[in-house]
Every structure is written in C-alpha cells, then in structure tokens.
C-alpha cells in the first residue's frame, strides 16, 4: 500500500519552463487583442477553430507526434506544460482537444502508417478535428455493453448503432467508434470489440445535438446505419478494441484537465476580492484552501505524467487524482458560489457572474466524464487487493 501512492516528484527541465514562458506571452497577447475570452471548462466550452490554428502555428498541437508525421517530436511533459497553461487561462481548446489528446497518441500506438499519414499532419496543423464514439444509450460506465455492431462485408465493415455524448461530432472530420465486431461471449464481455475510424461524411450517418445545461451545442447523438468503413480504417487489431481503449486511461485520468477546469473561476474570484475595500478573513481562508489543493493536485498530476513517461505503473494514483481532482473542480465552484455575494448569470456581461454560472452548469459532468468517481474508487480498491 505504502509504496505506490504518490509517485516521485517531477522537476521540469529548463526548456519546459522556457516553453511555459512562451505560452504565457502568447496568451497575454491574445487576451490583449481579444483573441479569446476566458471560460470555465474551456476544453468543453471553448470551441474556436481559429484559436486552435494559432496554437498549431506555434507548434503546440500534435506536440508528441513525431516530425515525420507532421508533429513536433516533443516530450509528454512539454505537452503537459502547454496544456496546463491553456487550461489555467481558460483558453478555448475544445476544437482540437480530442484529436490532440487522444486520437494522435492512439494512431501512433495502434495506427497503420497510412492512417498516420492520412490524419496526423492535419491534426498537428489544427485542420483535422476528431470525435470519439464510446458511450451509448445502454453503455455508460459499463462500456463493454456497447451495442453498436460491426458486420464484416467485402473490403470492410458495416457499422450500425447509436453513440451519445459525442463531443464535437458536428464539426469533426472523423470519429473513432468502438463497436462489437464479434458475437458476445458471455464469459468474456471484453472480447470481440474493435475500434473503427469513421469518416463523418460517410453515407448513413445522422448527427443530432444534445445540448449542455448552458444551451451550448457540444455533445451529439450519432446514429450509424450500415455505415461502410473500409478495412484500412480499422484502428489496431480487430477484436483488440477493449485493450486499446483501456490502455491509456491512466493518461486520460490524471491530466491537468481533471484539476484545472474551474481554475479560471478562482482567478476571477480573486479579482472580485481585490476590488473590495476590505477582505473578509473567511474569504481569505477560502482562497488559501482552494489554492493549497490546486498546488498539491497539480503536483501529483505532474508526478504521474513523469512516472508515465518512465513507464511506471500509476493506475491507482491516476484514479486518486481524477477522483480528488474532479471533485475539487466542483467544490471550487460550489464554495465560491456560497461565499461570493453574486448571482450566477449564464449571459451576464460581468465575467465573474458568467463564469460562476458556467461552473455551476458544467459541474455535474466533472465527476462523470472519463470514469465516474464510483468507478475510480473501485479501481483503487482493486489496486489495494480488496476485490
């Protein structure tokens, strides 16, 4: 139990810190010229393709993709630094988020050379955006229960089924779909699943909005009706879908987006306090309590990123970080809402009021997306040998 809980601290290299300064200068310039408006949960709420391309111009998309595929061959820690800077500033990163975080690394790990050539350069240029089709009406936490079927046909597969909560499918070029490609084996539900790259202009696809509580269109329902996917767009090995989608969960669970989604609201709250003639001791304490937790969770998340880069096992700490980090994201909103004498206004001209509303309306998702807190606690228990 003792050994594995908090991985060793990471100290970032000077070149990573220099990169951080570059990102900060860029963000300050952008803010000055109105290049973006800080948002809470900006990796969901901030869809801005122009902004994504400005990041790409500076080499901050597809950072870990090798240069031969149009990427920048940089380290995971460098990408971590850029990502946390963008999130902390509330910059709009939703457009490229899925392609940059998930699909790029997946293609590097499981994709064919043709698939990499086809998509990676566009991902790094901020021109190709991706969606991921995992959840279904009957498969949320129980992902292995996907009902979408892939039936073998000459030259490829025909996919039929319904995907839900599909981020950005209405803007994306393609969607990586998890589907059942062999009949269900009741003794091994994880067998017989495959991942397919579905180009979203294929015939037989219907994309319908599922709107957020703010009214924003981010998620979609994606209906697939006998959609043809050629053999060359199967991702990885047919039948290995489960192992492929679960292999990188530790990365997905421990990233800065599990801690910092609401950080811009803390900055905004501090700005509000600075306007007051006298700051109440309890408000000071609240800021301190929240800041102390950000400091620690961020360091823990960074340590996990470092351990992952070295290939150490971090499933338990990653579950710990996501469980605590996402709860913290919500508590930050809740505590500020209960301390600040401000009505949350979804369309208020005042930034603090608007961000407070954004935080409250997005908060229910924090502890659900990427594995619910309940699932994570089960993962932790398994790690302790309790199951």
């Amino acid at each position: 139990v003792r050994a594995n809980l908090a991985p060793p601290l990471v100290t970032l290299a000077p070149h990573s810190e220099a990169l951080r300064d570059e990102v900060r200068s860029f963000l300050a310039e952008q803010r000055a010229v109105g290049g973006f408006v800080p948002r809470v949960d900006s990796w969901i709420s901030g869809w801005d393709e122009q902004f994504s391309r400005r990041l790409a111009d500076r080499g901050w998309l597809g950072m870990t993709i090798p240069t031969q595929y149009g990427g920048h061959g940089r380290s995971h820690l460098d990408r971590y630094v850029v990502t946390e800077e963008l999130l902390a500033a509330g910059a709009p990163v939703a457009a490229h988020w899925v392609a940059d975080r998930q699909v790029g690394p997946s293609l590097m790990r499981y994709g064919t050379d043709e698939q990499r050539q086809r998509y990676l350069p566009g991902i790094a240029r901020g021109e190709i955006f991706f969606a991921i089709g995992m959840s279904e009406p009957e498969a949320g936490s129980d992902l292995a229960n996907v009902q979408t079927r892939a039936v073998k046909v000459p030259g490829g597969w025909k996919l039929s089924g319904t995907k839900v909560w599909t981020s950005g499918a209405h803007h994306a070029r393609a969607c990586v779909v998890l589907a059942r490609s062999a009949p269900l084996d009741p003794t091994d539900r994880h067998a017989g699943l495959s991942q397919f790259i579905v180009e979203l202009d294929s015939p037989g696809i219907d994309i319908r909005p599922i709107k957020l509580l703010t009214g924003q269109h981010h998620f979609n329902e994606v209906l697939l009706e006998r959609v043809f996917v050629p053999d060359e767009l199967v991702l990885g090995q047919a039948g290995d879908g489960w192992a492929q989608v679960t292999s990188e969960l530790a990365i997905e669970r421990s990233g800065p987006e599990r801690i910092l989604s609401t950080f811009p609201l803390l900055v905004s709250y501090l700005t509000e306090l600075e306007r007051q003639t006298r700051i109440d001791a309890e408000d000071t304490r609240l800021v301190g309590a929240l800041l102390g937790r950000v400091l620690t969770l961020r360091q823990l998340s960074l340590s996990i990123a470092g351990a992952l880069a070295e290939g150490r096992p971090v499933d338990i700490p990653a579950a710990v970080v996501k469980n605590l980090g996402t709860r913290f994201e919500g508590e930050l909103v809740d505590l500020i809402a209960s301390h600040a004498n401000t009505d949350p206004g979804p369309d208020a001209p005042d930034a603090f009021s608007r961000m407070l509303a954004e935080g409250l309306l997005h908060a229910p998702g924090f502890t659900l997306r990427g594995g619910t807190s309940e699932i994570l606690r089960t993962v932790m228990s398994r790690g302790f040998g309790l199951r």
Partner: protein, 390 residues
C-alpha cells in the same frame, strides 16, 4: 546580552538525496523502530513514556541529530533525511522527541553558537521576562505551555520573546519546574516554569525571522509525522478489510467499505504529495525562502485535513475492534489528530496561503501555482485582515 544578532539561515541550498539513498535510510530507521515498537503498540495503557533504550539505539546510529551539522555533533544530513526518519518513527508510534531535538532545539543552538548537549532535547516558544542579575548576569523567567517531552529532555531550548526582541537560551532540565500535561494521544506536552540566572553571553538575541522559521520547522516535522501515522493507519485498515470476515466474506468486498478506504487513500496520497513538495522546496531553497513558507503551509494544511478523514474511515472500517486501548490503531489515529493542532491548524495555515495569494494578486495566481514562490508578490496587499498568530 550578546550583541550578535543571528538571523535565520535555513538549510544550505543543496541537491536532494537520491530516492535510493532515502529508501536505504528508511529501511534502517524502520528496522530500529520496529524492534522497540512491540513494547508500546500492544500495551493497554494511555501513557506513552519516553523510550530511553530506543533513543540510545537511534543516537548510536546518528538518527537523533540527523540534520544537525557534524561540527555540532550531528550527522550533517538534510531535511529530506530528517523527514524520512520522522515519518518512520510515526509509523511505529515511537516515543522519542527527534523532531524537537534535531529540527528545533539543536537548530536554535547551532544558530546561536551554543553547544548542543547530549541526550533528548526539546524547545518551547513564548513570552519571557529578562531582568538584570548580579555581576552583569541576566535573570530570565517565564512559563511555557505544552512543551513536547519536557519531562524527559536534558534541556529546554527557549525561543523567548522579550520586550526588546527575541532571545534564545537554554534551561537545563534540573532548573525548571515541570507540570505534566498531555496531548490527545497522551504524548507529553508539559508546562515548564523557570526563573534562572544566566551569564549574559548565554542569552542570545535573534532576528524576527527565527520565530517564523521555528514555526515552519515544527509544522513540517508534524506534517511528516502525520503522513507516517496516516500511511500506517491506512495499511492497517486495508489489512483488516482483507482479513475480517462478516456475512461470509471479507469486509473489503463491500462497496461501501471500499469507498471509505478509497476516500482515506486519497487523503493520504495528497498529504504525502504536499509533504514531498515542502521537503523538496526546503531542501533546495531553505526555510527562509518565501516559497518554503507556502509549501510548508500547504503541507501542514493537508496533513491536518487528512488526519480527520483518515482517522474516521480507519475506525469505521475497524469497527469495535479498533476503538479501545487493546488495538494498535489508536496510536496512529490519535497522534495524527493531536498533531493537526500543533504548530498551526488547517484553518490558520489556509488563511496564510490565502494571504500569500492576495499578496500575489489574481494576475500572478497561476504563476504562484507553477513556480511555488512568491517572487511576484506585491509588496503591500493592504486591506487583508491579519491572520491570528500561529
């Protein structure tokens, strides 16, 4: 009174020891603590008397003055090594004042060029009176509350605030009157009364920064000890949940129990991560660096917060098996609960962190997170209600 004004020097800036070296030290410390732990862990009494033979063994291995310079009779290691031994001691409910001896008393003595006496030491801070004595000597007097382990210490190194500033002097064990008191875990926290005549060159004036560093050192020591105690409590809890059968299966198979343990594990993990950051910061930059104050504040606030959550979960999982004197769990939960109020509780440290944030300002807040230091702090935040002293 000596005219020398010593200032807080903090640790020398140095590289952190390697993980392997710390692991080796941890293994050595654990092997020693384990040998003596059985004496205390399973005895049904509230008292936790000083363990003289454990102290002798630790002293012979150089573990009682680990971070004290070799020139003063110490081992010349750093804060990282000291924290490893403190945590290992807490894992075994060791009844020895290493934190007080090494991190507080010996540090003050070295700072003021006084000799470090052999044997266990302790340190207390508070108001003292200083009067002219015969033949140029000084008469110092005062009452210090809740001094750790005073009844077993060879001497109490006092950090006194007098009218004209702070002073350091030594009160030998035989020259004070001690009234026994205890913390929640029944560790000695004694009231020390003294009125002694000292040669004026034995009463040293120190700068204000020394008092601040004294608190930081105590807070960091308690944070390290709390982590050790809570990690042990978690380990006992996981073991118990795996082996205790109710309703025909181990407790750990019940999801409600799993979630209690997961909650506790989360708190232990963050407390440890915060401690690691504080140790690294102090080891590399010294206590006097503003980043050390922030990192120690965060570490102590987390440790104090974790104490409540982990104790509650550990006792709930243990059920009635853990809530009496006959089970070892209480050694770890009660110490963690006692230590959360010593050298500043969560509330006062959180307020301090909040002040640092306000001094830094909204624009610099994120930089404070990534750099951990307040270099960008504005000089005068104004308007912030002062936090009560810790």
């Amino acid at each position: 009174m000596n005219a020398n004004v010593a200032s807080a020097t903090g640790e020398r800036s140095r590289e952190l020891p390697s993980e392997a070296d710390l692991d080796e030290l941890r293994a050595l410390a654990r092997s020693i603590f384990e040998r003596y732990a059985a004496e205390t862990l399973y005895v049904q009494r509230t008292a936790t008397p000083f363990d003289g033979s454990l102290w002798q063994t630790l002293a012979a291995s150089g573990l009682t003055l680990l971070s004290t310079p070799e020139s003063a009779g110490g081992s010349g290691a750093g804060i990282a090594e000291a924290a490893v031994v403190l945590a290992a001691g807490a894992e075994h409910a060791a009844a020895v004042p290493i934190a007080e001896t090494d991190l507080l008393a010996a540090w003050l003595l070295v700072l003021t060029d006084l000799d470090v006496p052999a044997g266990p030491l302790t340190s207390g801070a508070g108001e003292v009176s200083i009067a002219e004595g015969p033949a140029g000597s000084l008469v110092v007097s005062g009452t210090l509350e809740r001094v750790p382990w005073a009844r077993s210490a060879e001497a109490v190194v006092v950090l006194g605030s007098a009218g004209g500033g702070d002073v350091v002097f030594v009160v030998p064990a035989g020259r004070c009157s001690i009234t026994a008191g205890h913390n929640l875990a029944h560790e000695p926290r004694d009231c020390v009364r003294f009125k002694i005549e000292l040669s004026s060159d034995l009463v040293l004036t120190v700068g204000e920064a020394v008092g601040a560093e004294w608190v930081l050192r105590g807070a960091l020591a308690r944070a390290a000890q709390t982590c050790g105690a809570l990690e042990k409590a978690l380990e006992l809890t996981v073991d118990h949940a795996s082996s205790r059968i109710q309703f025909g299966r181990p407790l750990g198979r019940f999801q409600a129990v799993q979630h209690l343990i997961a909650e506790a594990a989360g708190e232990v993990t963050t407390a440890r991560a915060a401690l690691d950051v504080a140790i690294r910061t102090v080891a590399q930059r010294g206590f006097a660096n503003p980043s050390a104050e922030l990192a120690v504040a965060v570490a102590k606030a987390h440790a104090a917060g974790a104490a409540g959550v982990v104790s509650r979960a550990a006792h709930q999982v243990h059920g009635a098996i853990g809530f009496t004197l006959d089970h070892q769990l209480r050694h770890f939960t009660l110490r963690a609960l006692a230590w959360r109020n010593e050298f500043g509780d969560a509330r006062s440290w959180e307020r301090r962190i909040g002040q640092i944030a306000l001094e830094t300002g909204a624009e610099g807040l994120w930089n404070l997170v990534t750099s951990g230091d307040g270099e960008s702090r504005r000089s005068d935040p104004g308007r912030v209600d002062p936090a009560p002293p810790i």
